[in-house]
Amino acid sequence: MSKFEDRLWRDLVRRHGADLADITKPADKRSRRARPRLLAGTSVALAGVGTAAVLLLSAASSPPAFAVNRNSDGTYTVTLQKFAAIHGANAKLAALGIRARLVEVTQGCQVKALPPAAVHAMALARSMAGKAAPQVATARLDPGKIPPGQFQVIPTYNVAGTVHVDKAHLMQGQAPACFSTVVAPPCEVRPMTVLRNGHLTQLTPAEARKRAEQALATFRAAVGRQHTTSTGSGNSGNSGNSGNSGASTGIQVPAPAATWTVGCYVHGNHPPVTPNSGNSGNSGTSGNS
């Protein structure tokens, strides 16, 4: 697209993105009424699953859905009822200008950026699979606490038809399309050895970072293309049936040369908001999404 067309699109999203994200097309109108309703008192946090939490929903609510609700303290509550609704929730977050995304955890993914605790929580969730369904997962975000240049990512996965979200963590740059189930290394730039003029030379951290960023950009472009072509038009369908097997994306793109900066997560000084357990009572009422 030309520059004019790109700018116009950005203006449109800025002005109407939130409205568009709310629209349910005529074909889906029957499911419009049944947006996810968290029923206070019916939710049960899954104790012992580390930072992951799953809330049981009353069996009356059925349709695939998500909600992004603004709370009175300026934080947002993201509610997912089905794994397939992840795209809708992300669209809404994008439209609201919130630098946070739900990121699918799939076995086939190349992006190794899960904190060890998330992997542990996922394993526990798997071991407790089959308790009850359908279920709803919620995560709480504070856009004000996301530093510039970083994204808050919320690992989201499917275990035996139940959607789970894990504790959000920060990543540099954009959110990836998916996470591998493999534990990520910490986010530190290590020197890299290259063959230069016939000699093995260590790159400086700055050079190494630059190379890694270039590799990351190429990788993400490839993932984006693959994701666009593989997901097609439908957003529902295989949500609740396949555990964590990576069936939703099956991305086959080459891993970037320097995966150690791609697959890392930021610890520490920027406390990501969330654990998502137990605070669901307010999300059903605020709803300015």
Partner: protein, 188 residues
Amino acid sequence: MVRDSDPGSAALSTGPSGSALAEFEQIYRQNIDVVTAYFARRCAEPQVVADLTSETFVRAAGAFGSFDPRRGTPRAWLFGIAAHVFAGHCAQTANGRDVVARLAQRRSLDSDEIEELAAKIDAERAGRELIERCSQLPELERAAVELVDLAGLTPKEAAMALGVSRVVLRKRLSRARARLRKEHQGDE
């Protein structure tokens, strides 16, 4: 690393499937070119073309919830909106209100955008000449020729955009083409 603080670009890169936003983005990408060309055939000023194109998509975004693809294609729907936008623009121009209205809504263009739109206007010169030659035709016939022969809509889409039946559209189109042919032969 790639930064993404802009919600617009975030939406572009995220590419959510299945949401109305993603659907609208697809419609936008598929039709922005033809809608811009539609206005470029009518106006020689890049800023006016930009304003009218922008207005068309702003209205479309606002009304997207009521768009029913079973009743017609997105392109036909967009051209229907574009026709209204242009009619409104003409009415405002006739009333001398267009300068004020445009200044109120104007999105300033940078030099690259002006250049792009000027090139577009230039590329549509032949189309503009055809529209001028059609100026003697009744309005519906003129619009039918433009939408089908210049904008590339199918007769069915053009009928929807103009709010007439397919039969009427085909008759008008056929009549307009015959007149233009006759006029052309007369010129020779």
